[in-house]
């Protein structure tokens, strides 16, 4: 068969893209710590199963970077030791910039259809002000490539994603790592090689920053949070929602609180603890290590009270 020139052009372009897809799959773990963390999610049930076989309990932390900075592994372990229990297996399912859509999909992908022996003993869900609400999916690409299982494609495509564009991004990222990680190259290149880019990005983002909606005025639903809780086989008293301190005071959405209450899940609300000074947030968003330890201690005291 003799190809005409334009067919050759298209063929070379397609082969070029396939080559890059292969390369991106080969080097995927090197892209960032976040990618490595997401790729390791599938090992969580095995690690829990292994810990259980060794007579140790396990704690799964669901959340994002807020949870990683505020629910510290050392603090969680410390509480178990204080209570004279074996050193637990602490696992994080907390990718950067994720929210309830990612956590629900990832949890279900990891644990649905697994043996009960691979389910965690305790679950901590670390959330900011709006992370448990049914907001538009932050990154359909990440959700498809790293979190969602095929069994949830239906609900994600028809309920969670709002536009044809988002659905296309989701489906293409489910088969292509190039598509899934397409937004990673830009910051890597610009932050490292464009002089002054960090400052410019900060100024531009500041100019575009939307105002925080005052508490009580939000009207979002919490269906995905409900689906997550319904998917957890752990008794509700072993599950806790921890509202992570932020530089501003807030209350969780009413729908979120009702969803938790309906299923008997406790909510550790930030306003019951104390006011957090500005110095507690060295980068303006995440708790410092010291304050994170204080917060972890308080949360664990509620999750595992002294008998």
């Amino acid at each position: 068969m003799k190809l005409n020139n334009e067919a050759k052009v298209v063929l070379v372009v397609v082969l070029g893209v396939i080559f890059l897809e292969i390369v991106s799959r080969m080097f995927e773990p090197r892209l960032s710590a976040d990618v490595r963390q997401m790729l390791s999610q599938k090992e969580i049930p095995e690690r829990i199963g292994k810990a259980r076989s060794e007579g140790r309990e396990s704690v799964l932390v669901l959340g994002n970077s807020l949870a990683r900075a505020s629910l510290l592994e050392s603090g969680i372990r410390e509480r178990f030791v204080e209570l004279g229990r074996p050193d637990p297996e602490v696992l994080y399912l907390a990718p950067d910039g994720s929210d309830i859509s990612d956590w629900t999909a990832a949890y279900r992908h990891c644990f649905l259809g697994r043996s009960p022996s691979q389910a965690p003993d305790y679950i901590l869900i670390g959330t900011g002000q709006t992370h448990l609400e049914d907001n538009p999916v932050v990154s359909p690409e990440k959700l498809a490539a790293y979190h969602a299982g095929r069994e949830d494609y239906g609900i994600i495509l028809w309920s969670w994603l709002g536009t044809t564009g988002e659905r296309c991004r989701f489906l293409s990222a489910s088969v292509s790592r190039l598509m899934a990680n397409r937004e990673r190259l830009r910051p890597i290149l610009f932050y490292n090689f464009v002089p002054g880019f960090e400052e410019v990005a900060r100024r531009l983002n500041e100019a575009e920053k939307t105002e925080v909606v005052p508490p009580g005025e939000r009207n979002a639903s919490a269906g995905r949070f409900g689906l997550l809780l319904d998917s957890i086989p752990v008794p509700p008293e072993r599950v806790m929602v921890a509202a992570i301190p932020l530089p501003w005071s807030y209350r969780l959405n009413k729908a979120v609180l009702e969803t938790a209450e309906k299923r008997g899940v406790r909510v550790f609300a930030v306003e019951v603890l104390r006011e957090w000074p500005a110095e507690a947030f060295p980068d303006g968003y995440h708790l410092s290590a010291v304050d994170g330890a204080i917060y972890t201690k308080a949360v664990m005291a509620r999750l595992l009270p002294q008998r």
Partner: protein, 474 residues
């Protein structure tokens, strides 16, 4: 359904699959249906407006063609102008007139008048109204025979690739393509379409949207917070944003049409390589500038009635052209700047001999002229982009304050070099070859490499937030 959205490409894939399996008459019916669906995705209510324009112009042109009485013909064409411009004026300029009316009331110390209703601007109304008007005027002038089939005419008005942002087609160019069977999809057509679609997407997604990020920051800031270098960078960024945005849309529209056997007119020809304002308008939004020339400048008298009236006609045409873009004084000023500039150029050309323009310039002269023209085009863009004339002057004044190389300047200039550099080199290569389709004549591996670069840029360097096409609002 934007051209830079997945939805559009899914829609197009379905349209192309069905379209190429149909015969000519069915193709037209199907394209009409697809065009109305495409437009209805924005706001189905305005489909009635397009339908009204189509039916009314079909009726008027039928009467004009049937009447042998010049006075009756004139009455019909006048009716068409009044109705179409009336609709355009109502939707596009109503708010502007109310605002100005209230300003006068305010000066007189009277209470503001709040109209009981607000009008939304229908997408693309300026484009399809001008296209419909040009058809009616051409029928009146006897340059076009009226379209006999209503559905063919409806497709001419609503053909989806160019419906909302042009190119504004002429009846004697597009209508015969609607009425007669079109060529099948050949290798050459596919190749030309692919080239236009790829470059169009690159212009929009990579250049325009990334430049918007920088331009918006400068144009939305308080001028006092910026130094001269930052303002200049923002103005340059906007110049390339609007170019990428509009030329990108046009290229995609023309490319997609090629795949369906249509040849739309070229709308942009490397405008920032123009060496004077006249040349700029022969390269920028060619379908509008030639429309204004044929249906406004020449009927006003063109250059046939002496130098004074020629200058008046030039300025008037450009001011009205500015107003076509939007109902604001800033567009009037933008048009006026171009009008005055065209007049000054005309004076210059006459003073130093009209032949001077045609004489091949030395390369250095040409480079300086291109750079100078670009600066003046950018100066006018300031008025086009700012929300008020005062803001435009404040920004221009800020150009004279401080020229430190701030982080914004360093990063912005680097980003511009990264995004624009390869494209400018590509356009320069086209310019030197005097061929907009030069890439189609190089060996295929070079073209494949170019497309691969475009795809990678689209994939990895699309702006974080897609931006709506600027010209949709016109």
């Amino acid at each position: 359904m934007w051209f830079n959205s997945f939805s559009f490409w899914l829609f197009l894939a379905v349209v192309l699959l069905v379209y190429h399996r149909l015969g000519h008459r069915l193709q037209n019916r199907f394209l009409l249906l697809a065009s109305y669906f495409f437009y209805g995705c924005w706001d189905w209510r305005f489909l009635f407006l397009i339908l009204f324009t189509t039916a009314f112009e079909h009726l008027v042109t039928g009467r004009i063609a049937a009447s042998g009485d010049p006075r009756a013909r004139k009455r019909w064409v006048t009716a068409s102008l009044v109705v179409e411009l009336g609709i355009l004026g109502l939707f596009k300029y109503f708010g502007f007139f109310i605002e100005e009316f209230n300003r006068i009331l305010g000066v007189l110390g009277l209470e503001h008048w709040e109209p009981a209703f607000q009008l939304i601007l229908p997408a693309g109304i300026s484009f399809y109204t001008f296209q419909a008007l040009s058809y009616t005027i051409d029928v009146y002038r006897g340059r076009t025979t009226p379209c006999r089939h209503f559905l063919d005419f409806a497709l001419f008005i609503s053909f989806f690739p160019q419906l909302v942002a042009g190119p504004i087609e002429r009846s004697n160019h597009l209508l015969p393509q609607v009425e007669n069977p079109r060529p099948r999809l050949s290798e050459a057509r596919f190749s030309a379409g692919l080239y236009l679609v790829m470059t169009g997407l690159f212009l929009k997604v990579v250049i325009a949207d990334n430049m918007a990020w920088l331009a918006n920051f400068v144009f939305d800031a308080t001028p006092g917070e910026l130094n001269g270098a930052e303002v200049l960078l923002g103005i340059y960024a906007f110049a390339f944003q609007i170019y990428g945005d509009f030329a990108g849309y046009s290229a995609i529209a023309i490319g997609v049409s090629k795949w369906m056997g249509f040849d739309l007119m070229e709308n942009f020809r490397r405008p920032y390589f123009a060496s004077n304002p006249r040349e700029f308008w022969q390269r920028w939004h060619i379908s509008l500038s030639s429309w204004l020339r044929d249906y406004l400048y020449i009927p006003l008298g063109g250059n046939r009635e002496g130098e004074g009236k020629t200058r008046r006609n030039l300025i008037l045409t450009m001011v009205l052209g500015g107003l076509w873009h939007g109902a604001a004084w800033t567009f009037v000023v933008w048009g006026a700047i171009h009008g005055v500039w065209l007049v000054l150029h005309r004076i210059w050309a006459r003073r130093f001999g009209d032949a001077g323009e045609r004489r091949p310039k030395r390369r250095i002269q040409r480079v300086l002229a291109v750079m100078g023209t670009f600066q003046l085009v950018c100066l006018a863009w300031v008025f086009f982009r700012t929300p008020s004339i005062e803001q435009a002057f404040r920004l221009l004044a800020a150009l004279g304050t401080g020229w430190q190389l701030t982080d914004f300047v360093l990063a912005g200039a680097s980003l511009m070099a990264f995004f624009l550099g390869p494209w400018i080199v590509f356009e320069l290569w086209q310019e030197l070859r005097k061929d907009s389709q030069a890439l189609l004549k190089v060996p295929w591996p070079a073209r494949a490499a170019f497309y691969l670069y475009v795809i990678l840029m689209l994939l990895f360097f699309a702006a974080p937030e897609p931006v709506e096409f600027i010209y949709f609002q016109f």
